[in-house]
Symmetry: D2
Subunit: 284 residues, 4 copies
């Protein structure tokens, strides 16, 4: 893959934004390989993502940032620029269930993920052998139900030490403390094993079975202080019927969870997701 810079922005909509930004790029001979726009008439905001060949530009990412800053100010942009040569550093968190973790590790090894898995943290030791096969550090941080604070302090320390860009809860099964959610806002991705907002909370497949739904699903979302209420990145479903037991639903659901999490994470790693007012723009 050729090295690119990804310029991602959101700002109040008005005439001339695209002209200004693309003229800026063209002035420096920037070759746009992919461009996505979204103007939301409901809230009056404009969102844009441009992917530009790094080799076509006369400067590195810091000079780009400086040169672009005045335009960003003029339009009151929330923005960032990412360099594909600096892949995001990913910390995976898991518990005992292996399906999501195994899937992400395999995709990472197969170079399907634009990021670097730098560590795995788990409250159990069950998945250590699998993680170490991939030659990735595995940290066992048990969570004491009576006093969870020390464990999460340790988790937070690890996140910092690894200079983590994104934390993925690959069926971690523990609720993160609000402070951590707050500090890492927009940088923690969770997979919930239901089609939210249906069946939030515990044991969603049991809830789905009780209600007799004909499809079960999974939701990939950013973690916020409100459990299962964060901005949704991706969702999908699979058909079930009366003959499926809860165990069948758990098994069928795994395939959906795996894929929804992998797709959602991929969008995030490629800077395709913009969060605004608890919703996402996903330039898929």
């Amino acid at each position: 893959m050729e090295r690119t810079f990804r310029l991602v922005m959101a700002c109040p909509d008005r005439v001339g934004i695209v002209a200004k930004v693309t003229t800026f790029l063209a002035t420096y001979n920037g070759w746009i390989t992919e461009a996505s726009h979204h103007a939301d008439p409901a809230n009056g905001w404009f969102y844009m993502r441009n992917e530009v060949k790094a080799s076509s530009l006369p400067f590195d990412i810091d000079s780009f940032r400086m040169a672009f800053e005045p335009i960003a100010k003029e339009f009151k942009m929330h923005w960032h620029i990412a360099d594909t040569d600096q892949p995001k550093r990913i910390v995976l968190m898991a518990s005992k269930e292996s399906h999501c973790l195994a899937d992400l590790l395999h995709r990472w090894q197969a170079r399907e993920l634009d990021g670097e898995v730098v560590a795995v943290i788990s409250n159990h030791n069950d998945l250590r052998r699998m993680v170490e096969w991939y030659e990735i550090p595995f940290h066992h941080v048990p969570v004491n139900p009576a006093d969870k604070a020390p464990a999460f302090a340790e988790v937070e320390k690890l996140i910092e030490e690894y200079q983590t860009d994104v934390v993925v809860l690959a069926r971690y099964m523990q609720i993160l403390p609000p402070a951590l959610c707050h500090t890492q806002a927009g940088r923690i991705i969770n997979i919930h094993h239901s089609f939210l907002p249906s069946f939030a909370g515990a044991k969603p497949y049991h809830q789905a079975y009780q209600r007799g739904v004909k499809l079960i699903g999974a939701t990939c979302h950013y973690v916020t202080e409100d459990l299962d209420e964060g901005p949704i990145i991706e969702q999908d479903v699979i058909r079930v019927n009366h003959s499926d037991t809860i165990e069948d639903m758990v098994r069928l659901g795994k395939d959906v969870e795996r894929q929804v999490l992998a797709r959602g994470l991929r969008y995030h790693l490629q800077d395709r997701v913009i969060v605004h007012q608890n919703k996402t723009v996903v330039f898929g």
Copy 2:
């Protein structure tokens, strides 16, 4: 289509049910064209549907019923038998939105539905011309918000007069009174424009838009006294994204509503649905 009898039953599971029933059928030379079974280990019940060529049997449906009665008693069956030569009589109820009604009428005319549309009832006059094109009686029964009872009394009277087997709320938009739900239990089918239990109640597409879900859906269910809580017959979803406005969702959702309602109704008309403890077995 060759005439068949459909023998549908549910009973506590035990050894020998299928043997007894199919030996009964074989004794009379009954040719089974389709058979479906479901044994539910969670509640210990057994469900079965057999479709038998009428011409292969030496008796009509009443004699069949009498001959089968002792077996049904022995196994404590909830059961019924249906004759495809007596198609179910359908009353459609609609409001102003035409998409579900138009779809069902077209399918009925194209002989896709195993039933007879005998009348349409609406609280508005908007769809009269369309209904009358199909040469089906159209009854305008306006609902006075201050006193709905007379309207529903009229509706109930029409349902009786038409010897209705099944009432379909094709986006009727009015909540039926509990007494009517009770009398017609298992005989009123509704289409709700969300993937229940998400977004029950009013304006589900607005709710979906606010939550930022990535799929919207529709649910076909039997009407009970508890609004949007009845046994689910069929559901489906369609993908949406950040660029879809509420109006887009409404438009996209129509296609899902139409199809989910048509499929759910088809299952009901073919005696493929067994309701048990607020859930359905659907022998699709």
Copy 3:
């Protein structure tokens, strides 16, 4: 819906295209409501569609065209501009099967299609009553198998008389003569009842049944001289299994055909489709 101009173009890719076009638009204060880009690294082409509020521009579509012409020349663009106040004129062609025609007419009446259905042409009279209910002219042009030329001459004449922008073969079941395909290239849309390139030609559901596939599909494509080989606009599938007869496949397939045709036509009517080298870019 607010009036917009849709500027659609394809040209060899190079630096500065977006900058030039959007600066042009910004110069005249043009408010972009939707923008889509695609740069194809495989063939080195660039495709763009911009939707601009008409009220934000100081000129009508002809002046726009004149003002933009020099830019188009500079970049060797294939381009056109469309005005939503001049909806495309649609001629539907059908045979005896009603499902696609009924669906499109209903969508048109419900204002789901950005176009005007100006006439229906059929080689049979069966659907006349339905078409006339919508107060649309119905032309019965029977096709003599021994000499089809006069019928197609009549069809061509009608297409011209109605100043047709797009012809939709809504299960027309006749092969159009090469000359007509050529004259109307990119303006005739067909629905084929299979997932092309599988089961091209006659009786695709029979072919699908024989092969024992587990999904059946439909394909919406532009008509070219090579039967079933034109650029594909949209496709979809539905699940079938061993218990589905050919008749079941025909019935299930209708739902897919309807939707695929409606979606494909919608893309075309909204100028979202660019044809290039027998493939399409669809800015959906």
Copy 4:
């Protein structure tokens, strides 16, 4: 999972088959946990699968076989009975691509597959380390393009030595010799990376890209002497668009391949597939 016997049969349809079989089972107090029937009016055949609690029967599988034999003869059945306590022995064959193999091994370890993976054979050594992590024997059998016979003789020997019940070509990328296909008819399962019959043969994603299809798929089928022409067990598709390169299709296709192969294999391992006249009945 409770131990069951699976009785699977196909025979010319006539009155009394189900009665005879289920009366046989009931006579011995056999508790049916799952039953599936299919009567095919097109070819006049009848197919049935019964799953019976082993503990409810007074005999082992051999006595069952002997006791049932006269009934099977009477109805000219093609039949077999399987014991869930004797899981099928699976040999996986792969090449360099890891996604299908990794997926099946993970599912096997997670006890999602009703079978025992006894060995992996590959024409390359790349996946050895992964396989050995699962403590499964890995056999490297290189194929000499100038003379493939010795390699396939070795493969055949291994299949025999491992007392293999089913061979799975998990992207093996080599064409098996006709003799081996013949000997192992109905016991070799392949995953083809297209929605057959579209894009049979080599490089299906390249073919799909050239044709500009809007969905790509995968097909799980039994291997016969006619390449890509064997009975189809399962298929699925995923949406693509103009922005997807061949590399994107390869990546997206992997998810479909994995799932279609896993589902198809699962059906086979649970004795849910009956092959008849190059088509399958799948009691899913």
